[in-house]
């Protein structure tokens, strides 16, 4: 077979490349290389401007994404392995903008911790490159390479504080669970490849097909793929790494992992599920149903008894992943509604969860603590931050008019529209869990507004410019999406199913 391959290389012709379609990836690659180069040339003196270069580079990356969106044509490259459609563009914009907020968060944090800073931004950018690539990946190899490109830098970022035992622990737990998950996922992918004889997801879709009982290879392939992504999106029972990694990693990295990395896991799962085997609902729906219900319930119940706010946000993130999985558990009966519900949830979740992390970091600058009790009396000395935190918490709980309610509304709509008993039961589970979640979100809110500040310390919190702009950005988006849900509704009326092939 290799001899055959060697013969083919003589007549090798480079496939036509649509440079506009790959422009976001190329821009990110160039900025990442530039940051690394600046580090090599200027060493310590480069510190002053690397974060600015990374931030500006991310904003420049938005330009080709916007021009591609205005152009509006679906583009398909490399015989369908790389597709640019509305869905891919929405997710790319989400990744780039959340990375921008993360860079704003990191600007002071990494420098004040006195860590070598330049590689940090290089790693963030290469991780974002993997995510942006993932949004377009419609081929097993592309999905796998994108997944590793986004995960490997994230392992290093989680263990960024070299001499801190907790950060080491966060890194090793994240690494081992992440690599184990990739290996299981890869095993599933190899079985799917075997059943289709092609790595293209569209070919897998036609081979795996709808009619008749699936072969054992297909069942195992789909189960392993879903389980592998279950680890990546921290769904119960594969969530054990998430709280430990989130607590031990530097807080900006935690924000990055809990928003961008989780969204990337969902994007990969949705690519495979909707393009690769959407008609095999008989295999993946029960599995996703259990994952969704368990994630919501277990995540919320454990979050109730947390005393550390980062851990609480980690468990709340596990529960939120459950809400996002819920529409996917009815994906075969209402594919378009389910896809759009999960995308809507991802977009709104990114804004509100990043916002909550901005406030946590701002408060920790003064209190040097991540305990929930350190938020007591926040309103008396930092009313702006207290209002912002209440906004994000109520958004996470799903109370109108803040962003989150619309996300939950779309999830409910999808599970009810499916008109199956299991879908309706899942809707009830979502509703019950929203009530449980309200308790721990409201508890922090109550502490901020009603309790006294610890030790009567009322010195105001000094908010650096970068944190303030991150706060305005995330708060504005959360509020706008809540008040004008039609905006995000338009944004996420996307269809992966019609955008495939080409």
């Amino acid at each position: 077979m290799l001899a055959q391959l060697a013969q083919q290389t003589e007549s090798f012709v480079r496939p036509a490349i649509d440079w506009h379609a790959v422009a976001p990836e190329l821009t990110l690659l160039a900025v990442g290389a530039l940051v690394t180069l600046l580090d090599i040339v200027f060493l310590e003196r480069g510190r002053r401007f690397t974060s600015a270069v990374a931030a500006v580079g991310l904003l420049i990356t938005m330009v080709p994404i916007v021009t591609l969106a205005l152009d509006g044509n679906d583009r398909s490259l490399f015989s369908g392995a790389f597709v640019v459609d509305n869905y891919a563009l929405v997710m790319k914009a989400l990744f780039v903008l959340s990375a921008y907020v993360v860079v704003l968060l990191s600007a002071n944090y990494v420098a004040e911790g006195d860590y070598w800073e330049n590689e940090y931004y290089g790693l963030v950018l290469s991780s974002v490159l993997g995510m942006v690539l993932m949004a377009s990946a419609r081929d097993l190899i592309t999905v796998f390479v994108a997944l590793e490109l986004l995960s490997i830098p994230a392992y290093m970022l989680a263990s960024w504080r070299k001499r801190d035992l907790k950060s080491n622990e966060a890194g090793i737990k994240y690494y081992l669970m992440g690599v184990f998950a990739s290996a299981i996922l890869l095993y599933g992918m190899s079985l799917l490849y075997g059943s289709a004889g092609s790595t293209l997801l569209t070919d897998i879709n036609s081979a795996v097909g709808a009619s008749g009982a699936p072969s054992a290879v297909v069942v195992l392939g789909i189960v392993f793929v879903v389980v592998g992504f279950g680890f990546k999106v921290s769904a119960v029972p594969f969530h054990t790494w998430a709280p430990d990694t989130y607590e031990g990693a530097p807080t900006p990295v935690t924000a990055f992992l809990s928003v961008a990395s989780k969204a990337a896991g969902f994007v990969a799962l949705m690519n495979l599920l909707f393009v690769g085997f959407v008609e095999r609902g008989d295999i993946y729906e029960p599995l996703l149903w259990v994952l969704a219900a368990l994630s919501m319930t277990v995540g919320n119940l454990i979050a109730l008894r947390q005393t550390n706010i980062v851990r609480m946000l980690a468990y709340s993130g596990v529960a939120q992943a459950g809400y996002m999985l819920a529409p996917l558990a009815v994906a075969s009966s209402v594919p378009d509604t389910a896809l759009s519900a999960t995308v809507t949830y991802l977009v709104i979740y990114a804004a509100m969860n990043l916002g909550a992390f901005v406030v946590v970091m701002a408060v920790a600058r003064k209190t040097r603590s991540a305990e929930i009790s350190s938020f007591n009396g926040l309103f008396s000395y930092a009313p702006g931050l207290a209002v912002a935190m209440s906004l994000f918490l109520f958004a996470l709980a799903g109370i109108p008019p803040f962003g989150g309610w619309f996300a939950k509304f779309r999830v409910m709509e999808a599970v009810i529209e499916a008109e199956t008993t299991s879908g309706l039961v899942l809707g009830v589970v979502v509703a019950v869990n929203s009530v449980i979640a309200l308790y721990y979100y409201a508890r922090i809110g109550l502490g901020m507004w009603a309790n006294d500040a610890p030790d009567g310390d009322l010195t105001p919190v000094r908010l650096p410019f970068s944190l303030a702009s991150a706060l305005i950005l995330t708060g504005g988006v959360t509020l706008v999406f809540g008040v004008l849900p039609q905006l995000v509704g338009d944004l996420t009326q996307v269809s992966l199913l019609s955008g495939i092939g080409g």
Partner: protein, 99 residues
């Protein structure tokens, strides 16, 4: 072609690997167990590729090998970091974070 033999070999390697990840306490042995799973994947990919006479399987296997090397490089660095700080790579002792 004797496809089943290859698939059974891969499945056996996969099971040994998963067992190793779940049971072993040394970070190094866990890493080696993960390598076993990845090699099971490679056997699967090459066997399926040869069966359908499609180069995609071999290409995928090459990608897996390259990415696995990068992954292990990072993994060894993190394990080394842990060894420097703790003088041990026993995963059972890594329990500062819990709750």
């Amino acid at each position: 072609m004797l496809l089943n033999q290859f698939l059974l070999l891969a499945a056996a390697l996969f099971c040994i690997g998963v067992y190793g990840v779940l049971v072993r306490r040394s970070a190094m042995l866990v890493l080696m167990s993960i390598e076993l799973i990845l090699n099971a994947v490679n056997i699967n990919l090459v066997a399926f590729g040869a069966l359908t006479d499609d180069v995609g399987g071999s290409v995928f296997a090459l990608f897996t090998i390259a990415v696995a090397a990068a992954e292990v490089g990072i993994g060894l660095a993190i394990v080394l970091l842990m060894y420097r700080n703790r003088r041990s790579i026993d995963l059972a002792q890594v329990d500062l974070l819990k709750g």
